[in-house]
Amino acid sequence: MSTRTSFSLVAGLAILILLPFTQSNYGVFVLSSWMVYSIAAMGLNLTLGYAGQVSLAQASFMGIGAYTTALMTMAGIPWPLAMLAAMVLCFVIGLLLGYPALRVQHHFLAFVTLAFNALVVLVLRNEEWLTGGTYGVVGIPRPEILGLPTQKPLAFYFFVLALFMLTAAALYGIIRSPWGRAFRALRENPIRANSLGVDIRKTTLLAFAIGSACGGLAGGLVAQLTQFIDPNSFGLTISLKVLLMVIVGGAGFFFGPILGALLIVLAPEFLRFTEGYYLMLYAALVIVLMVFCPSGLLGLVERARTALKLRQNPNATTWEAGR
């Protein structure tokens, strides 16, 4: 890691620590939900950006995580156990769902996950004895850490920040590991990666399961953040929203989903004046972005940087300029 990168990381962290003090309670809430969605989007980026498979079920994993965390903590089980259980459950369901879907070619995972998300919402809505049906679950407690309550927005913000940093660090480690490199190779050229000894299915499946576990964690945090969950909070539209975060920011870039989540969580705040036209505008913007820059905003930045370097040193190859 160069000095410049580590300097920007420290500066970024300092901003994240100081920023909430300048915000109202609502501002702190928006920032917290940005980080929660970033966790879900980073998990999806593992599946989508690095392993190259489309998943439309991130919201259902968030739902499973949220209901698991909420119901277990409300039954008196300590929150670290509940959240761990949520993540493990999502990991296992990810394995079970991904295994059949990844057996077949094309983008079948997209369809299976689409169907799965619809199924989860149906179960959450119909099994009232467990999930409260359409009324949802109310009054989810926020965690208490070493006797310190996080009931206040600011305290909970720092709890989310800590988990956000932990997840980011863990995912960074995974992507840098030999195994992470293997599944990047797999996205670039699956046949070649396969002939070099990468087990395509196993690698992709694990990436999907880890991504799902991140969804579970994010869901648990959503439950604690809003303290109210219902089936609609985890519908297909939310899955699409998380997918958009990854794509808009730049799939396959480490900071892509974080940037994407920031834009998409903040977009309703900025576009509030458009009222009913909001979703239309939003969809049109996504189409325009896809047509002109399919690799997302960070892809745009990288393209500009490469072009600039080429201009400064016209003799450099694209490969050198891209370094």
Binding site: R103, Q105, H106, F108, A110, F111, A115, L122, I287, P294
Partner: protein, 303 residues
């Protein structure tokens, strides 16, 4: 467990009625699934807006009759042209052509966004309420072997199956149709043999739009025209295409009919609240047991 209605009141006539009306809606699903399959074959386009493509033409017709005061047949004709131009030509030129070189993923995202755009536009500029759509046929029922079968169901089934048969005839019996098949099978070789590949792909998009129009005017009298109709229709079209076999028209037809019947029977005999889960579970089972689909052929490589 709720009581099992078929133990007490099962009647062959009701079953037959449900079966036929399932076939009728299933044949409409098949139209959507076939268009979906054609697009995939010709240009590796997964159209996530397929459901909205079926929702829209009905609103073109309604807009024609209500705002422009056109008569129903004229409005239908204009809506057909509009659908082919907008959902066929426009869709290909504006969205698919620039995105195709970048692989499948950007197309998936762009068509999802297109679906949202279409849905929200209808909601904003037309209405959020479900609109009645004029029935093309009388809603009389015929008494066949003691079962009350509606004329509409039979007409829908005949028209949809007729359209599929015509399409098959066109693909197998005409020069253009054969060129389209060649393009779907292997564009490079087709190009070498002198097939105008780009034009053939365009034809596929136009046919998909026409099929969507037909599906739209057939289904809207049954389920009413509503901006959100595309959500279920699109999902069911995908499921039908995969269940039948992703790379075949026959498969999409069988998949559509199967889903229509299973969905209808499940709603009556299993559980109304889990009705929409049945096609989803069918999808997951098929992918587990027979990933190439019921009528599909397995393709060699899985990468």
């Amino acid at each position: 467990m709720p009581d099992l209605p078929f133990l007490g009141t099962f009647s062959m006539n009701t079953f037959f009625q449900l079966f036929v009306s399932g076939l009728a809606t299933g044949s409409i699903y098949a139209l959507a699934a076939i268009g979906f399959t054609l697009l995939w074959q010709a240009s590796q386009t997964i159209n996530f807006a397929q459901g909205e493509f079926i929702m829209l033409p009905a609103f073109f017709v309604l807009a024609g009759t209500q705002f422009l005061g056109l008569s129903f047949p004229v409005a239908m004709a204009i809506a057909l042209v509009l659908s082919v131009l907008l959902l066929g030509l426009g869709f290909k030129r504006v969205i698919i052509d620039p995105l195709l070189p970048h692989g499948v993923l950007p197309i998936v995202i762009a068509t999802i966004a297109l679906g949202i755009l279409a849905k929200e536009s209808v909601k904003q500029f037309y209405t959020a309420e479900a609109q009645p759509f004029p029935a093309l046929f009388s809603d009389r029922t015929l008494n066949i072997l003691g079962a009350a079968i509606s004329v509409q169901d039979i007409a829908v089934l005949l028209i949809a199956l007729g359209a599929v048969a015509l399409l098959q005839l066109f693909l197998n019996g005409t020069k253009i149709g054969r060129c389209m098949q060649a393009t779907a099978q292997n564009p490079q070789v087709a190009e070498i043999l002198g097939v105008p590949v780009r034009r053939m792909i365009l034809f596929t998009f136009l046919i998909n739009a026409a099929l969507a129009f037909l599906a739209s005017v057939l289904i809207s009298p049954i389920y009413l025209a509503k901006f959100s109709n595309g959500e279920t229709l699109g999902l069911i079209a995908f499921i039908a295409a995969i269940v039948g076999g992703f790379n075949q028209i026959r498969g999409a037809l069988a998949g559509g009919l199967l889903i229509g019947v299973v969905d209808n029977l499940a709603a009556a005999y299993i559980s109304a609240s889990y009705r929409s889960a049945v096609p989803l579970i069918l999808l997951i089972i098929i992918i587990l047991v027979r990933p190439q689909g019921l009528l599909g052929k397995a393709e060699g490589r899985t990468v």
